[in-house]
């Protein structure tokens, strides 16, 4: 396992712990706008870019579906594939919301991932810097935001 690469240093430790404890193969922490905050298990910025865009869109759809079916947004989603499984959930720290998507296989289980994700969320609440950068809502420049966060994770294009 490689250590997570992060755009915001304070998430590195909890993300590493989640990765190790839940035995995740890969994962991405992002803002609901699609801006990546940290990742592990990926070596290609394009993969993270796709995951951020898809996760952001899935979250928006699931949130609305939850509202319509249950009166409130769904909290987490799980998809069990033949070999690998995807866990996707919202984490909030103070008023700040994050999305997390992680991939695991038979080396872990949904129950184990849920437990350690709960601990991860508590760690985020505890560690969230008081002076958080305010630009977390959608700015309208989705592509620009995404590219800036990918530059922070993988280095500027051309140097990756």
């Amino acid at each position: 396992m490689t250590n997570p690469t992060v755009a915001e240093a304070w998430v590195a430790a909890p993300l590493k712990r989640l990765m190790e404890d839940a035995r995740l193969i890969s994962g991405v922490l992002l803002y609901p706008s699609g801006r990546a905050v940290g990742q592990f298990g990926f070596s290609n910025a394009a993969d993270v870019m796709s995951i951020c865009a898809l996760t952001s869109a899935i979250n928006a759809s699931a949130r609305e579906l939850g509202r319509q079916l249950d009166g409130k947004p769904f909290y987490e989603m799980h998809h069990a594939g033949a070999e690998r499984q995807v866990f996707m959930a919202r984490a909030s720290a103070a008023a700040q919301e994050f999305l997390f998507v992680g991939v695991f296989d038979r080396e872990s289980s949904l129950g184990v991932v849920e437990i350690y994700f709960g601990e991860f969320q508590k760690a985020l609440e505890k560690l969230l810097p008081e002076k958080q950068a305010p630009a977390v809502g959608p700015s309208g420049d989705f592509e620009g935001e995404l590219n800036r966060s990918l530059d922070a994770l993988f280095g500027p294009i051309g140097k990756r």
């Binding site: 069990a80 038979r106 872990s108 289980s109 949904l110 129950g111 184990v112 849920e114 437990i115």
Partner: protein, 120 residues
């Protein structure tokens, strides 16, 4: 298998059993669980954690047993300072009990094995 609620109900009535659960073997999620006997008001409910980690541990025990060419494990007991955790596999579920140290472990084991056998 008997209805999972029956399995949980009968196991939780065995003397010394603090909690009994039927847990998904693959996902570690609780299918049915009894209340924790003697849980103080306001104390955290640890059943979800116990279930997930016990099922996970049991899956590793299966692999270890297989690697050592011992066959399928029949019964797992984890002894801690304050209680024991007992696990028995039953097809695609595992039975998990939390048991006091002074409990009749033979009786707990027999009842768990019988419940698991009914599921084969």
């Amino acid at each position: 298998m008997r209805a999972v609620s029956q399995v949980v109900g009968s196991l939780s009535r065995v003397p010394g059993v603090v909690a009994a659960m039927v847990v998904g073997a693959a996902d570690g999620l609780i299918i049915e669980a009894s209340q924790i006997i003697g849980l103080a008001a306001g104390a955290p409910d640890t059943r979800k954690h116990t279930a997930a980690l016990a099922a996970y541990l049991y899956s590793k025990i299966i692999r270890a047993s297989d690697a050592a060419r011992l066959g399928t494990p029949a019964f797992m007991r984890l002894e801690a300072d304050k209680a024991h955790i007992c696990v028995v596999g039953a097809s695609d579920v595992v039975l998990v009990t939390i048991v006091t140290p002074d409990a009749n472990l033979g009786r707990v084991r027999l009842d768990m094995m019988n419940a698991a056998r009914d599921n084969q």
